[in-house]
């Protein structure tokens, strides 16, 4: 998921930002080792710099977005694990309750038989 978001981010960034068509071939090197270039080229480089800064800022923002989306996914996974573990606990309790209820039913049946027998015997003895 993280790789997919990164690939999408890079694709979106390269589509939205154009790094200009500055023509660097017209730069003239002077005798004193300085350079002369046109005003248009100067502006073009400035726009390149501006676009680069915007791209970097956008990249930082997208990295932050990825971190937050990762955090959201982590929380979602934690919720899923929580309910899965709760389900296991409930299943264990249900199994224990079923077992105890079954044993109690047999115990109640046995006690019922004994008490009935005792009642009949005791009535016979008391006559």
């Amino acid at each position: 998921m993280k790789k997919l978001i990164s690939i999408l981010s890079i694709a979106l960034l390269t589509q939205s930002v154009a790094f200009g068509d500055c023509d660097f071939s017209k730069i003239v090197k002077n005798a004193d080792s300085t350079f002369t270039y046109s005003k248009e080229l100067h502006i073009c480089v400035g726009e390149m710099k501006r676009d680069l800064e915007l791209s970097n800022a956008k990249l930082d923002s997208y990295n932050k977005v990825i971190e937050l989306k990762d955090l959201a996914l982590t929380k979602a996974d934690a919720r899923a694990d929580l309910w899965m573990n709760t389900g296991f606990k409930l299943q264990d309790r249900m199994n224990a309750v079923d077992e105890l209820q079954m044993k109690n039913q047999w115990l109640m049946f046995g006690l019922g038989v004994i008490f009935t027998s005792l009642s009949v015997y005791g009535a016979g003895q008391l006559r």
Binding site: L68, V97, L107
Partner: protein
């Protein structure tokens, strides 16, 4: 009549005494069943509270991420014009 009851008790005292643990066992198991059910309900209650907290955190993180993305996209579209003095120190 009382003597007959006393005689009945004397003859079958052991049986009656042995029945008491069985009855106590039956009551004890019922209590354990009630405790298991209430602990199960408590586990579900605790899980619900925790789940709500996690869901809130997830929602907040998603909302913040979406906002940051929208702000970044808006900032990228809005490009300030570049003047001749873009490389001068301000």
């Amino acid at each position: 009549m009382d003597e007959k009851i006393k005689s009945l008790w004397q003859k079958n005292k052991l049986l009656f005494i042995l029945l008491i643990p069985a009855i106590l066992l039956w009551f004890g198991r019922n209590i354990v069943i009630d405790l298991l059910v209430s602990s199960g309900n408590k586990a579900v209650g605790d899980a619900t509270v925790k789940s709500d907290e996690l869901k809130h955190d997830q929602t907040v993180a998603n909302t913040q991420a979406n906002q940051i993305k929208a702000d970044a996209d808006a900032a990228a579209i809005k490009k300030d014009s570049v003047g001749e003095d873009w490389n001068s120190k301000k």
